[in-house]
């Protein structure tokens, strides 16, 4: 699928301010940071090629359609999550919002509502949930981690209230067929949820890397106060991000419901970790201010392709979890280790020559 061309060109280093940690030359660390997401992209390609060469069934269009559609919801939520993390925020309530969206879809469907009405209503609920998150973060001034741990429980609770322990299953085929793993755009292995993701990913990449809004997010994530004094409406921007994330998560709930033909309050349990892991794996800095959408998308795809490949080779689930965990640790650790090494060498070089070259 077309993740490579859409964002590879995008990341122009937004050389805004001397905002890097410590006294090191920021550009050097940044350069290393940028290399990480390309590395993940390369790793993705490598895993893909290994799969094509080594594993029966991997190359079949059916399997590829499946492997990518399998993480459609995670991928959709990863888009706004990338923006959030770049701005130094995080939303842990996304999977609960997915569950709430799913439960609500089921409950309203059971109540005889038209599916075409349910969709905007569920999206509005996502917006409302995002507003609550954003309001608590920006107006009450609580850290997003704490706020969304709370709403994680709250939204999952509401989902259980909405649908109880029921599972609603009889959704219209006209809509369900759009989401299932076996319906692809004719002649390709791209499913409709994945196609939607590609379009949204390109839009998000442009937004993050080629607009003033995107640059503002980097500034906010790097140095919130400096961004504020530079005239960026920090609170407004954060609020917008939370609202968009809420809406995406609720929408992902509808996609999930249709794809599995099963609306349940516990759908997507634990997905928030998968989303955040993918984003971090793609080299987006959890401290904010650094990262590319290309990296985040590569991170999502790497996790899905790897999972598919390992499953096809009968690698037990426990080992898969360990592999994903190690990748994640490596993704957080490696850039920092490299940066530290570069810094050390740079300092030594500076000591030796006493020549202040950048």
């Amino acid at each position: 699928m077309g993740m490579a061309p859409d964002t590879q060109t995008a990341p122009p280093p937004p050389a805004t301010a001397p905002h890097e940690r410590g006294a090191t030359p920021g550009e050097r660390v940044r350069a290393v940071g940028l290399r990480w997401d390309t590395a993940v992209g390369a790793l993705l390609v490598a895993v893909f090629v290994v799969g094509l060469g080594s594993t029966d069934g991997f190359a079949s269009g059916e399997n590829l359609a499946f492997a990518f559609n399998d993480i459609a919801e995670v991928a959709l939520i990863a888009l706004p999550m990338t923006l959030l993390v770049v701005a130094g925020q995080v939303d842990l309530s996304v999977a609960s919002m997915l569950g709430l969206g799913s439960a609500l879809t089921g409950a309203l469907w059971n109540a005889g509502w038209a599916f075409e009405t349910i969709v905007p209503v569920v999206l509005l609920v996502g917006v409302a949930g995002g507003l609550l998150n954003g309001w608590l973060v920006t107006r009450v001034g609580l850290p997003s981690l704490a706020v969304t741990i709370g709403t994680l429980a709250l939204y999952r609770g509401l989902a259980s209230v909405a649908l109880g322990s029921d599972a609603v299953t009889d959704f219209p085929r006209t809509y369900a067929d759009w989401a299932v793993d076996t319906t692809t755009i004719p002649g390709t292995f791209v499913t409709y949820p994945v196609a939607l993701f590609i379009v949204l990913a390109i839009a998000t990449a442009v937004l993050l890397h080629s607009t003033a809004f995107g640059r503002s997010l980097f500034a906010i994530g790097a140095q919130e106060e400096a961004a504020y004094f530079a005239g960026i409406r920090v609170k407004r921007y954060k609020l917008v991000l939370f609202v968009v994330t809420g809406a995406f998560a609720a929408f992902a709930g509808i996609v999930f419901t249709l794809r599995y033909g099963s609306a349940r309050a516990d759908n997507g349990l634990g997905f928030e970790m998968l989303v955040i892991a993918s984003v971090l794996l793609g080299g987006v800095d959890f401290d904010g201010g650094r990262g590319t959408l290309f990296g985040a998308v590569a991170g999502v795809l790497l996790i899905s392709v790897l999972k598919n490949l390992l499953t096809l080779n009968d690698v037990p689930n426990e080992v898969q979890v360990i592999v994903t965990g190690l990748l994640l640790v490596a993704s957080v650790l490696t850039p920092r280790l490299i940066a530290a090494a570069v810094e050390r060498r740079h300092r030594r070089a500076a000591d030796d020559t006493a020549a202040p070259t950048p």
Binding site: D56, G57, F58, S60, E62, N63, F66, A67, D70, W109, N110, G112, W113, A114, F115, E116, T117, V119, P120, S165, A167, T169, D170, F171, P172, R173, T174, Y175, V180, D181, T182, A212, R215, S216, A219, A230, G231, I232, R233, F256, Y260, G261, S262, R264, D266, N267, G268, L269, G270, K307, N308, T311, L312, D314, P316, N317, E318, V321
Partner: protein, 365 residues
């Protein structure tokens, strides 16, 4: 960093327009539950094209069977699957067990896809959600892979056979009957189940509730159904919570092997030991200690090894063309003898066994 007011206003207008459009669209036409129901008769059953069975066909050699349990670290399912894999060896086939580590609705789906790509001859599945697995299972059947549900059924048109451990009705009613006798048909009782959507659990609970409606149980009241999610710790905590919420609780039925063991562990160390009667479905090895120390008087279960064994032979018979899954067809299940397929492709293993102090040492699983 210029702030662009006009741009934001434009965005707001766009959003508002989108909202209005959405509502307008909604008003015109709508797909509702009722309008879909009418179309329903035309869909489904395209997978069960009339194949003919050849009861005399020998079991094919070299068949590939895959067991997909609810979750791989569930000790009960491990027993079932291992027996099924051992049975496969008997008739010259290979079996394996793959599966997720959590029992959520969607977790089995990627495994089904994988088994299709690996061109297995048959998939045996204990479904976490009867519908979430349906799409890929239908895909598998379309490709000629036989699908046998065991332990926990899928929707009926998503598999050829369902191997039921015992008739659901019998399990549900007998558990209430046993507990009723133990309590002298008096007092508050609760159920400690697995996950909220486990098909088998919910069917049994329905029959339990139905049995409780009989006049004999007029003094017995079901106060709560708790869910331990087949997790040991959660089941333990749920037991604790039940007894705190209902201090005058007299009995607990836990129709899950994880749940009953956790509940017994809690009771055996608490002041409720001997005062609260625990019954349900458990394995002898897990429950032996609690039967011997008097925490639990009796519990029941079918033989999970026989369940796996029967499932394995049923899948092989399907894959060899001996049967198609139609009602009334018969097949031989090795040492267990002959079985007949019932309504909706259901094959019933037999009656559950009651385990107590007298017989528990005769069983080792």
């Amino acid at each position: 960093m210029p702030i662009r007011h006009p741009a934001r206003r434009r965005a707001a207008v766009t959003a508002a327009t989108a909202c209005v459009l959405a509502v307008a669209l909604t008003a015109c036409s709508g797909t509702t539950k009722d309008s879909v129901k009418q179309d329903d008769s035309t869909v489904g059953t395209d997978t069960s094209t009339a194949a003919s069975a050849d009861p005399d066909a020998p079991l094919k050699k070299g068949l590939k069977l895959a067991f997909l349990p609810k979750q791989i670290n569930n000790p009960y399912e491990k027993i079932v699957d291992e027996a099924g894999i051992a049975a496969a060896k008997e008739y010259g086939a290979t079996g394996k067990e793959v599966g997720p580590s959590d029992a959520s609705a969607s977790s089995q789906v990627s495994y089904i896809n994988t088994l299709i790509q690996q061109r297995q001859d048959a998939i045996l599945i204990a479904a976490n959600d009867p519908n979430a697995v349906c799409g890929p299972l239908k895909q598998a059947m379309k490709k000629g892979i036989k699908v046998v549900a065991y332990d926990s059924d899928t929707a009926k048109d998503c598999r050829q056979l369902f191997i039921n451990q015992a008739s659901s009705e019998e399990i549900g009613r007998s558990l209430v009957q046993h507990l009723g006798e133990q309590l002298g048909h008096k007092g508050k009782i609760a159920i400690l189940s697995a996950t909220q959507n486990a098909t088998n659990q919910n069917t049994w609970i329905e029959f339990m509730k139905d049995e409780l409606k009989l006049p004999a149980y007029k003094d017995m009241e079901l106060v709560k159904v708790a869910y331990g999610d087949d997790a040991d710790q959660k089941s333990f905590q749920q037991t604790q919570g039940l007894l705190q919420a209902y201090p005058d609780l007299k009995g607990i039925i836990s129709p899950t092997t994880v749940g009953i063991a956790a509940a017994a562990r809690y009771l055996s160390d608490s002041s409720y030991k001997g005062k609260v009667v625990l019954n349900g479905l458990g394995t002898p090895n897990q429950m032996r200690k609690y039967v011997k120390d008097g925490t639990v008087e009796q519990f029941s279960l079918w033989n999970p090894e026989e369940l796996g064994y029967l499932g394995s032979y049923a899948a092989a018979s399907l894959a060899s063309g001996q049967i198609t899954g139609a009602e009334g067809e018969t097949f031989k299940a090795g040492t267990l003898g002959e079985y007949t397929i019932g309504k909706d492709g259901e094959v019933i293993l037999g009656e559950p066994t009651v385990f107590d102090k007298k017989n528990i040492d005769k069983f080792d699983f």
